[in-house]
């Protein structure tokens, strides 16, 4: 706990409700003058016990629950959950459904990065950036909505397949939206490069070096901004990422600017992946015909065993450890979220910076409290 030691120090509580925060958490900041001398993070304001709930729900019901774990990356949560069950039960998703999954997950990455990027602008006082990116995000969300039927909590991926096929006219709409997003990305980049205030606030602030980032267990864009090309899609390929061509976007500086830049680059990269996937997508069924449990099977028993499976969430490495005891409910589910270690890395990262940069640094990590708390 943070305690005052000398009279010239002051403690500022940031949160649990603060414009900087995408969800409630609290930063207790000890200041000396304007410099942060100590800091601690309080979590748990939206801890809802997802792991316990999952133990008491059947596998199919579990999909809806993991959806609500991180509301900006619902599809990668579903992917990791369904991936675990598929590995336990020995199911292989059909090729077509694998491609569809790649498409929707990348779409979800785009919308998440757009929001993260805009939010960061908002945190450093650049509110119009938020308005810009939300506009693009709505377009991307409308694409997702076309496929899955909902905007943020999809319940779309199933064991061994997906719930619905791609709708008609999806490809054309995709092309149209991507055109807009590409233009917007270029504009944002131009803004970033030329705006002095933005650069003052972000270049050389909150620097994370590769060694320290690894030590802290950080993954995702924050790690890639330090020059480590660590991406689960490449290191431990799942779905059809092996057949697709994409770059792992990295920067070397490790500061706020680099993190934001990585996110922007990843938006472009994701669009490229989706276009390839739309070109290559094979025809075929969504579920294997001999699958014992398909789209709507309330009771499925999964053989005894345990599995640890990782996917690349928009925010980094998302892992899930699932133990099955042979019944229709998982025995234990442990979620390794990407935000948990990122939040943990905040205190050492912010220490020594000035109070005005706290929001900028914490915001640039693109944290999602819901998933850190679970």
């Amino acid at each position: 706990m943070i305690e005052k030691t000398t009279p010239s120090e002051m403690i500022v509580h940031i949160g649990p409700q603060h414009p900087m925060q995408p969800g409630p958490y609290r930063l207790n900041v000890k200041l000396h003058g304007e410099t942060v001398v100590d800091l601690d993070v309080e979590l748990g304001f939206i801890h809802k016990g997802i792991e316990k709930i999952l133990e008491n729900k059947t596998y199919l019901q579990g999909i809806t629950i993991v959806d609500r774990m991180c509301y900006l990356a619902a599809l990668s949560n579903e992917e990791v959950f369904c991936g675990c069950v598929e590995r336990l039960a020995g199911i292989e998703p059909t090729p077509r459904s694998q491609y569809i999954r790649v498409i929707v997950e990348e779409l979800s990455r785009i919308q998440s990065h757009l929001l993260g990027f805009g939010e960061f602008g908002h945190f450093i006082g650049y509110a119009s950036m938020f308005m810009f990116t939300i506009k693009e995000r709505e377009d991307v969300l409308s694409l997702l909505e076309m496929v899955t039927g909902t905007r943020i909590t999809h319940s779309y991926i199933r064991f061994g397949g997906v719930r619905e096929d791609l709708p008609e006219g999806f490809e054309e709409k995709c092309k149209k939206v991507f055109e807009g997003v590409r233009i917007a990305c270029d504009e944002y980049e131009e803004l970033l490069r030329t705006d002095t205030i933005f650069k003052e606030r972000s270049v050389g602030v909150g620097v994370l070096t590769a060694d320290i980032a690894k030590e802290y267990g950080v993954a995702g864009p924050s790690l890639r901004a330090t020059g480590v090309p660590f991406d689960i899609r490449r290191n431990e390929p799942y779905l059809v990422y092996d057949d697709l061509d994409f770059n792992v976007c990295t920067q070397t500086e490790g500061d706020i600017f680099a993190r934001v830049k990585v996110r922007l680059d990843e938006i472009r990269e994701s669009m490229y992946i989706i276009e390839q996937a739309l070109d290559q997508i094979p025809k075929g069924p969504l579920f294997a015909p001999d699958l014992p449990y398909g789209r709507r099977t309330p009771v499925m028993r999964v053989p005894q065993g345990e599995v640890f499976f990782r996917v690349e969430d928009p925010r980094g490495e998302m892992g899930m450890y699932m133990v099955s005891d042979g019944s229709d409910k998982p025995y234990r589910v442990k979620v390794r979220g990407p935000v948990f270690p990122t939040m943990q890395a905040l205190p050492p990262l912010i220490k020594g910076e000035s109070i005005a940069d706290v929001t900028a640094i914490a915001g640039s990590m693109d944290s999602c409290t819901s998933e850190a708390d679970r």
Binding site: G44, Y331, R336
Partner: protein, 158 residues
């Protein structure tokens, strides 16, 4: 580095404490470790085998066997092998050494395990509640014999 070399290497180095090694696939291996040696094994893994990334640390409550299993998922930023290291603890007095010295980011995982399961870690720098409210400490909500779940206070339950 492939799965087999890793398993051979740790079982040679710690022939007393490592048991039940298993190669599940090319990128997943698992082993049981006797609980007093966890820190030593982790240090060896980190320094000699390149396992520089603690991916996850969790606890599983095997109430039928009256045991807790502390599960460490240790991965690397360079190779794709994930080692699942498990230590067995008795259910009535679960105490194990903290590995914060080796893996810095184990800190919060251990705090979480402490408040949800009651596994207490020796040598931990700050073993306090993380996500639960202060007054819920001691209920150990994720244990299988926890009585407060499901909560029945909602008035519109059917």
């Amino acid at each position: 580095m492939d799965a087999k070399t890793i398993i051979d290497s740790i079982s040679n180095e710690f022939s007393d404490s490592i048991s039940n090694t298993l190669i599940e696939s090319e990128i997943r291996v698992s082993a049981y470790v006797s609980s007093p040696d966890v820190v030593e094994v982790c240090r060896y893994l980190k320094e000699s085998l390149g396992f520089d990334h603690l991916s996850c640390e969790s606890v599983v409550d095997y109430i039928k066997r009256d045991e807790f299993e502390v599960v460490y998922h240790i991965a690397s930023y360079d190779h794709p092998v994930v080692l699942t290291l498990k230590a067995i603890l008795p259910r009535d007095n679960p105490v194990i050494d903290s590995i914060v010295d080796v893996y810095w980011n184990a800190n919060w995982y251990e705090r979480e395990n402490y408040e949800l399961y009651g596994v207490s870690y020796t040598n931990h720098p700050y073993l306090k509640v993380l996500v639960l409210p202060e007054e819920m400490l001691g209920e150990w909500p994720l244990r299988k014999d926890y009585e407060g779940f499901p909560q029945k206070t909602a008035k519109n339950l059917v």
